[in-house]
Symmetry: C2
Subunit: 886 residues, 2 copies
C-alpha cells in the first residue's frame, strides 16, 4: 500500500493525475484527470481504495492518521474556495461518493450537502440569499445521512414530510415554503435522534468521518456483494471515497443537472445524447424517480425549453464533450451540473454501450482517425456481440401486432414472455421453464436476480440512464423503460393500459430497439450480419490466428454456423441423432439385444439414417472439415426411466416389461459420468463403432460422387489410455478400408483423432498422439474430472464457493487456467512432441468464452469450436487475443 | 526378434545356456542350463517364443524356414542318439511341450511319443523288445495327438478302449495284453479318421509340424487366457516349444517317474520332498489322476518299496538336488524319469512355495550361507505373507471338532464354508455373500474361477502337485487335496464319507496345514508372528526407508496394526464412527436440521462420542501419529434409501415421512463421487468441521492429562483448490486455539494437512502446500478421477479392458504409474518445492500393494498407509523397494 492516503484535485494542484485506477477508483481518477486538463471540476479529494482495504483488514477501523489527513485536505479546499467547513456565514459543503476501480452503478450510497449543521445552514441561507434552498439542502442531508450512515428507514422521514405538507396544505415537495422546510429539518432531526439515540452531529468533521466509514461499509453490503457476483467483479481492494465541494443544479431555473453520453449508447450514433432536468439535483436523474423531459438530443435544451441557461454554456458543454473524447479516445458517460449559469463537470467515465453501439462507435472512431483498427477490435467486449446476434421482430408480424404502449428503447433486442411482477416470481417461473418479462414500476439493486432471470425488462418510470436501463444494457438483456402509460397492480398481478388489462398469464412482446410493447407473441427473425458488424468481423479475421469452428449436430446448425463464419465443425455429436423419430426404437433394440448378431441387426437399421445425417452435414459444410464424435453417452440414457414410459416402450417393441426394467437396472450406474460410455462402449461393442464409421465413410463417398468435397474427422471420445485409441483406430481404419474396397474408392481424406477430456489422456498425451491425427480438448469433462465436480450436482456448493471467493469463476463458464489449463498445456506440448503435425483444438463450451479463447491462443491451439451463435464472438475474441499477446 | 529360431541342447552342444528366459521360456532355458552343467538331460531343442509371436503376427502361419530348421535339429538329435525319426528299427521319439517365460502349470498341452507311425512302432517294439510297451506308447500318441491337435473328445477314444477291455475281459488298462493294444491302435486310428476325415499322419515330420502349431495355438485358448488373467501374467511374446527325446518311466519296475522339491514347498523345511510312481509316465503324477504312493519324503523310495531301482540312482538324485540348489541358489521343483535304472532330468524350475515356506527357506538359506540377507528379503513375494497372517484353527476348538476325514495338506490355512460342488456354484454363492468350500473330485483349468471365489478347496483325488494344489498355493488359498474317502455326488449336491452324508447346506472346516476335514464351523485364531517371520521382519525394517502406517478407524484395528508393526495411523476415517449405535440418529438430526442452530444442537450430541473415539485410538497408538480425516462422504449416505427404512427413521425420530423423503430427494446426486462431499461439506457447514476438530483437540488434551502422548494430524479431504484449504485451515486453527484457551492448555502438537486425491490438487500442489503440514495421496479417488472411472461401475468394462490388454492391471489394485503416478510425482515435487519439510504419504489401498510401494519409495514418499493386515507385507515390500532401487 502506498503511504499516500488522499489525493487532492483542484486549482491548487492535482495529485492524482498519474495515479492508478485501482487506487483512486474510476471516479476519483477521472476527476483528477479532468481537473488536470483544465475542465471546470468542483475541487475535492479522493481517499484511496487501499484505505478501504486497510479498514477491513483492521476489522472495521479507519487507518491511523486518515482523519488528520482528511482535515488537511479540507483546509486546502477551504483555502481554494474561500469557504469554511461548518461556517455560519459561508460554509463549505461537500458530497461524499464511493468509487471503485470498476463502475457499479446504483450500488454505492452517496451523501450530499455534508457540512451543514444548525449553524452552517444559516450561513448557507445568508451566502445564497435563499433560505428555502438552504433548508431544503439541510433536510436532504439529514435524510440521506440518516438513511445511509444510520440505516434509518426512509418511511420515517417520509411520514414527517407528509405531516408538514398536510400542515401547509400543499401537494408537492416543491410547494412547501421555506418556514415549512425549517420545521421539517427539526422534525427530521427528531426522527434521527429517536432512531439513533444521538443528536444529529453538529460537528461537520464528525459527519465526514461517519460518512467516510459508511462508504467503506457500503462496499460489503449484501447488495454490493451480490452485484459483484452477478458481474463477476473480483480482486478489487475496495472502494475509494470522493469528497467534492458541492455545486447545485437546484438553485432555480438558471440551474440544472444532466447526464449525457458523447455518443448514443444504444445505437452508437455520433450524436451528443443525454437527459437534463432543470432546477434539479443529479440524483434525481440517475435514480429514475422523475422521468426527465423527453429531450431527444442534448442540443435541444438550448433553445426554447430553458431560456435562463444560455447558449454559451451549451457551447462549452459541446466543447468539453470533444475534449473528453479526444483525451480518452473513447465514448464518455458524463455528469454535469449548471449552478446559476456556471457549468461544472462532476464525473466522466467510459460509457457503457450496447453491443451494436460498441461496434458502430469502434467503426466510426476508426473512420474518424481517432483510434487505430487494432484498437477498434479491442474496444468491443466480445460477449456483447451476443446482442447483435439476438433476433429482432419480424416486420410483417410486427405490422400486424397490437401495440399496447411505447416506452424508452433502453436496451435493444426483441423479447417475448408472460408478465412477472416481482424479482422472485421471475426467478421461479424462469426456473420452471417459462419465459417471462419482468414488469416493475422501477427496478432497484434488490431486483437484479429477477432481472437476470427474465427474458426482458419493462418499467413504467425511469429514463435511459435509470437502474433498469443501465443494468439491462450491461447484460445485453432487452429492456423497455419508462413506459408511463402502464399502471401496475403488483398485488393483483396485472397491468392496465388505457382500460386494457393484462394479467400474469398474458404474453407481451417488447422491442428494446424501439420501445414498443405489444400484446401477445410476435414472431422474431434472425439478425442482419452486414455493415459495421461485417467490418468488425473482417478486422477480426485479419488479426486472429486461431481458426474458429462450431459445434453442430444438424445441417441447419451447420448452415447457420457457416453464415456466422465458422471454418468447420469441431464437434458433431452423433447421439442426438439417435433420438429422432423411429430411430430410438432401433437404438433400443440394439440395447436390448441378447448378442452381437442381434445388435448388428438393430444397428443395420440405424445405418441409413446416420449416413443421411452425415450427407446432410457434409453438404452444408461443403469442403470444410467436420469432426464427428462417435457415440458418447452411456446406453441407459436411451432407455426410459419412468415406469409408464417403460411400459409404453415394452408395448411398442413387443417385449415384456421385465425385459425392459431388468436391462435398465443392469445398466444403472452409481456415477454415470465415470461409467460405461465414450470409447468404452466401442471396446465392448465394436459393432457400434463399425456402424458409425461405415455411415461416415459411405456418406463421404456419396458426397464425392455428387462432387461435394467432404473432410470427415472421426473423433473417438473419452480416451484415457493410448491402448484404447490404438485398438479403436485399428478398427476404424479396417472399416474405412472395407467400405472403400466395397465402393471401389481409392482416395478419401479422413482423419482419425481423439478428445482429450480425461486427465490421464492429457498426462499421457505423448503416447496417445502416436495414434491420433488430431486432439480436441473436451474441457467440459476435463473440468469435471480435474476438479472432481459433477456438473449436474455442483449447484449444491458452487454458490458458496463463489461467494467465499474459493473459486474466481464458475469453471464450467471460464476455463480454469491454473489447474485444468495445466493439463491442456501439457496435452498440447506432449502431443506435439510426439507428433509434430498434430492438429489441436478445443470443443468444450469454453471454446466460446473470450477469456478462455485468450488462453487457447496463448497455448497455441489451432482452433476453438463453439456453438453457432457464439462463432462471431469467438472470431472477435481470437483477434483480441492475438492483439493482446502481440 | 533374434534370427535364431531354434536352440539345441545335448552332448553335442548347448546353444541356449546364455539365452533369455523371455525367448526360450522357463522350461527351455532350464533344460539348456541343466545340460550345460552336466546333468543327465535327454537331448532336444527349443523353438523360441519369438516364433510363437511371429505365428500370431502372421495370422496363424508358421514362420518361414522354421520347419527346415526343425529338420536340421532333428537330424542333429538323430546323430547324437543314433536313432532315426520314424525308423522301423530304432526310431527316435520326442515329446513336444509348451513352455512360456512364466510357468503356467496344467495350462498348456503336451504330446508324448511323437514320431511313432505304423512302421516306427514295429521298430520301437524291436528296439525295446517289448511289443506291449511299443503299442501302449503308440495308442497314447494317437490319443494325445487326436485330442490336443485335432480336438477329438477323449470319450471317443475311451469308448474304443472299453470295447477292447470288454473283448479281452479285463478290468484295468494295464491288464490289456499286447495284441489288445495292437487292436486298440487300429481302433484309435479309426476314431481319428472318423473325426478328422484324414488318416493319422504316417510322416513323423507331419506329426511334428502339426504338434508345434498346436502348442502355439494352445497359447491363446480360452483357458490359457483366463489363467493369465487370473494370475496377472501379461506382456509375454508367447510360448516356446520344447522337443525332447523321449525317455520312459513305464518300462517296468526298474523304471518310474517323479516330481520333487528340493525343500518342502509347504513348510520350507530343508528336506527333499516329492512323489514317485513306479512304472509310470510323468503325466500320471502331474495330472493327479492317480494318487501317488504316500511317500512322505523322497528318501523313502530307495528302500523296500522299489527294490529294482538301486541306491545309486537315489544318491545321484540327491547329489543333483544339491547341484541344482547351488546353481540356482534357490529351492527347485524338478521332474525326473528313471528308465531301466537310468536317471534323467526332465525339468527344473524355481519351486513354488507357500508364504510360510518362502519365509523359512529364505531364513535357512541365509543361515546356510547360500544367500545373503538382502537376497533373502527379496526372495519372499511380499503378498505371500498374507498366508502367514491367515488365521489357523483354535487348537481347543479343533480338539472338540469331529474330523470327517483327512486329505493332503496341499495349501496351508484354515477355511470354513458350506459345500459347493461346481465352479459356477462357488462363484454364484460367494457373490451372494456365502462362504463356500469348493468340493471337486479333481480340479481342472475350467474350475479356476470357482477356485478363486471359494474360501477353500477340497478334492478327493490328486496329490501335492495336482492342479488344485499348485493353483491354490499360488493364490495362498487353503486347500486339502486327495481326500480319497470322500464320495462326491455332484448331481445331488452331497458328499458321503464312511456312511455320513453332508449336503450343500452343511458347513465344513478344512485345515490346509494338516489336511483335516472337519464337520461344522471350527473357531479360528490369529497367527503367531514370531520365529522366522520375526527374523524376516527385522531384516525388512533394517533395509526399508519408507515408514509404514495403517488405515484404522477403531482402537481394535489400531491395536492390531501396532502388533503388525505399524508406525502410526495414516488414515482414520471418521464417517464409520457416525453409524455406530445411537449416533446415527444424531447424525440424521443434523442432516434434517432446518438451520445452523439446529445443526449445532445435533452436532453437540455427537461431540462426546467422537471425543471418546479419538481418546480410544490415541491411547491405542500411544505416542504414534494419528491422521484423522474429517467427514468425507456425501450426507445422503447417512439416510436410508428404501421406503421401509425411511418410514422407520421417520417414526424413530418423530418427524413426518415427507420430511425424510424430501431431504433424501434434495440430497440426491447424479454423480455422488463428484458431488457435495469432503471439504465441500465443511465449506457449506463449517459447524461439522468445528465439532470434529473440537473432538480431536479435547481428546488429545484428555490423553495429555493421563500422560498419554497424542499426535493427531488433522486431514482435510477432497481439496481441489488452495483457497479451500486456506479457509478450512483457518477455521481449524481457530477451533484449536479456542479449545486450548478453554482448557488452559498451552502446547499441543497438532498438524493440519490435506489429502491429494483430486487431480487439480496435484496440479496446484505448490499452492496447496502453503497451507498444509502434510499431504496424503488418496490414490483411490485420484485413480477414479484421473482415469474417469467410477469404481462402483467399472465392472461393466474392466474385464474387457484386461482381456484386450488395454490396461495392464486393475488400476485400483496396482497404482497406474504412467498416468496417476505422474500426478503423484508432480504433487510431491511441487509440494516440497513450496514447503521443504512437507510430510508426504499415501493412504489409498495402493499403500498395501507391493509394486505400488516400490513406486512410493522411488518418488520419495515418507510413508505408506495400508490396512492393518497388510502392514507386514508393506514392511517387506518397502525393504524390497529399497534394495531394488539401491
Amino acid at each position: 500500500m502506498s503511504d499516500k492516503m488522499i489525493y487532492y484535485f483542484g486549482k491548487s494542484g492535482c495529485d492524482g493525475k498519474g495515479a492508478d485506477k485501482q487506487l483512486l477508483g474510476g471516479k476519483g481518477l477521472n476527476l483528477a484527470q479532468m481537473t488536470d486538463i483544465g475542465l471546470p471540476v468542483p475541487p475535492g479529494f479522493t481517499i484511496t481504495t487501499a484505505c478501504c482495504d486497510q479498514y477491513y483488514k483492521q476489522g472495521g477501523k479507519l487507518p491511523v492518521g486518515l482523519i488528520e489527513e482528511v482535515k488537511l485536505n479540507v483546509t486546502r479546499l477551504e483555502g481554494e474556495l474561500d469557504k469554511k467547513f461548518g461556517d455560519d456565514s459561508n460554509p463549505l459543503l461537500v458530497s461524499v461518493r464511493s468509487g471503485a476501480a470498476v463502475s457499479m452503478p446504483g450500488m454505492m450510497d452517496t451523501i450530499l450537502n455534508l457540512g451543514l449543521t444548525d449553524s452552517a445552514v444559516t450561513g448557507l441561507a445568508k451566502a445564497t440569499g435563499n433560505q428555502r434552498f438552504a433548508y431544503d439542502a439541510y433536510r436532504r442531508l439529514i435524510n440521506m445521512f440518516g438513511g445511509v450512515v444510520m440505516e434509518i428507514e426512509h418511511e420515517h422521514f417520509e411520514k414527517a414530510f407528509s405531516a408538514i405538507k398536510e400542515k401547509f396544505k400543499v401537494e408537492l415537495d416543491t410547494d412547501v415554503p421555506a418556514e415549512g422546510l425549517v420545521e421539517l429539518c427539526d422534525a427530521y432531526k427528531a426522527v434521527y435522534q429517536k432512531h439513533t439515540g444521538d443528536e444529529f452531529p453538529q460537528d461537520p468533521y464528525s459527519q465526514l468521518t461517519l460518512a467516510v466509514e459508511a462508504v467503506f461499509k457500503s462496499w460489503n453490503t449484501t447488495r454490493a456483494i451480490r452485484y459483484r457476483e452477478v458481474e463477476g467483479i473480483r480482486g478489487l481492494l475496495g472502494t475509494a471515497v470522493n469528497c467534492q465541494s458541492m455545486v447545485y443544479g437546484n438553485m432555480g431555473n438558471d440551474s440544472g443537472t444532466g447526464v449525457a453520453f458523447t455518443r448514443n449508447p444504444s445505437t452508437g450514433e455520433n450524436k451528443f445524447y443525454g437527459e437534463f432536468l432543470v432546477n434539479a439535483q443529479g440524483e434525481d436523474v440517475v435514480a429514475g424517480i422523475r422521468t426527465p423531459q423527453p429531450v431527444e438530443e442534448m442540443p435541444g435544451w438550448t433553445t426554447d425549453a430553458f431560456p435562463q441557461i444560455g447558449a454559451d454554456v451549451h457551447k462549452q458543454l459541446l466543447s468539453i464533450k470533444d475534449i473528453l473524447e479526444n483525451h480518452y479516445k473513447d465514448m464518455q458517460d458524463i455528469e454535469f451540473t449548471i449552478e446559476r449559469g456556471n457549468l461544472y463537470m462532476l464525473q466522466t467515465r467510459t460509457g457503457k454501450r450496447t453491443g451494436a453501439a460498441a461496434v458502430r462507435v469502434a467503426c466510426e472512431m476508426v473512420q474518424e482517425g481517432l483510434i487505430e483498427e487494432k484498437t477498434g477490435v479491442t474496444r468491443i467486449p466480445a460477449n456483447d456481440l451476443t446482442q447483435l446476434l439476438l433476433p429482432s421482430f419480424d416486420p410483417k408480424a410486427k405490422d400486424a401486432a397490437e401495440v399496447l404502449t411505447q416506452g424508452l428503447p433502453a436496451s435493444p433486442g426483441a423479447s417475448v414472455g408472460k408478465l412477472a411482477f416481482t424479482a422472485d416470481e421471475a426467478v421461479e417461473r424462469t426456473a420452471a421453464g417459462e419465459k417471462v418479462i419482468l414488469c416493475r414500476k422501477e427496478t432497484s439493486p434488490e431486483d437484479v436476480d429477477g432481472m437476470h432471470s427474465a427474458a426482458g425488462i419493462l418499467t413504467s418510470t425511469g429514463g435511459m440512464t435509470s437502474h433498469a436501463a443501465v443494468v439491462a444494457r450491461g447484460w445485453g438483456r432487452c429492456c423497455v423503460a419508462g413506459a408511463g402509460e402502464i399502471q401496475i397492480d403488483e398485488e393483483k398481478r396485472k397491468i392496465t393500459v388505457a382500460g386494457k388489462t393484462l394479467t400474469h398469464d398474458d404474453t407481451v412482446s417488447i422491442d428494446g430497439t424501439t420501445g414498443e410493447v405489444m400484446v401477445g407473441e410476435v414472431a422474431t427473425q434472425s439478425p442482419e450480419l452486414s455493415g459495421d458488424f461485417a467490418t468488425v468481423m473482417s478486422w477480426a479475421d485479419k488479426y486472429r490466428t486461431l481458426k474458429i469452428r462450431t459445434n453442430a449436430d444438424s445441417p441447419e446448425d451447420a448452415q447457420r454456423a457457416r453464415e456466422f463464419g465458422a471454418q468447420g465443425i469441431g464437434l458433431c455429436r452423433t447421439e442426438h441423432m439417435f433420438f429422432e423419430g423411429d430411430r430410438i426404437t432401433a437404438v433400443r433394440e440394439m440395447i436390448l439385444a441378447k448378442d452381437e448378431a442381434d445388435r448388428r441387426t438393430a444397428l443395420d437399421q440405424l445405418l441409413p439414417f446416420q449416413r443421411d445425417d452425415f450427407v446432410g452435414i457434409f453438404t452444408a459444410m461443403k469442403g470444410l472439415p467436420v469432426t464427428v464424435r462417435l457415440l458418447d453417452p452411456p446406453l441407459h440414457e436411451f432407455l426410459p426411466h419412468e415406469g409408464k414410459a417403460q411400459e409404453e416402450m415394452a408395448a411398442h417393441m413387443g417385449v415384456s416389461l421385465e425385459e425392459v426394467t431388468s436391462r435398465v437396472e443392469q445398466l444403472h450406474e452409481s456415477n454415470p459420468m465415470l461409467g460405461h460410455r465414450g470409447c468404452r462402449l466401442s471396446v465392448t461393442y465394436p459393432e457400434i463403432l463399425e456402424m458409425q464409421v461405415r455411415a461416415i465413410v459411405e456418406a463421404a463417398i456419396a458426397c464425392q460422387e455428387k462432387d461435394i468435397e467432404a473432410h470427415p474427422e472421426i473423433m473417438i471420445p473419452l480416451v484415457g489410455a493410448a491402448t484404447e485409441l490404438k485398438l479403436l483406430r485399428g478398427l476404424t481404419e479396417k472399416t474405412i478400408d472395407l467400405v472403400k474396397a466395397e465402393k471401389g474408392v481409392e482416395s478419401l481424406d479422413i482423419l482419425i483423432g481423439t478428445m482429450i477430456e480425461i486427465p490421464r489422456a492429457a498426462l499421457t498425451a505423448d503416447q496417445v498422439a502416436e495414434f491420433a491425427d488430431f486432439f480436441s480438448f473436451g474441457t467440459n469433462d476435463l473440468t469435471q474430472m480435474t476438479f472432481g465436480y459433477s456438473r449436474d450436482d455442483i449447484n449444491s456448493f458452487l454458490p458458496d464457493y463463489l461467494k467465499k471467493e474459493l473459486l474466481a469463476d464458475d469453471p464450467f463458464q471460464t476455463l480454469d487456467q491454473t489447474g485444468v489449463g495445466q493439463l491442456v498445456k501439457m496435452g498440447v506440448k506432449k502431443g506435439r512432441n510426439a507428433r509434430k503435425e498434430l492438429k489441436v483444438g478445443i470443443c468444450g463450451e469454453h471454446g466460446g468464452d473470450p477469456s478462455s479463447i485468450d488462453f487457447c491462443h496463448r497455448v497455441g491451439l489451432d482452433y476453438v469450436s463453439c456453438s453457432p451463435f457464439r462463432v462471431p464472438i469467438a472470431r472477435l475474441a481470437a483477434a483480441q487475443a492475438a492483439i493482446a499477446n502481440g
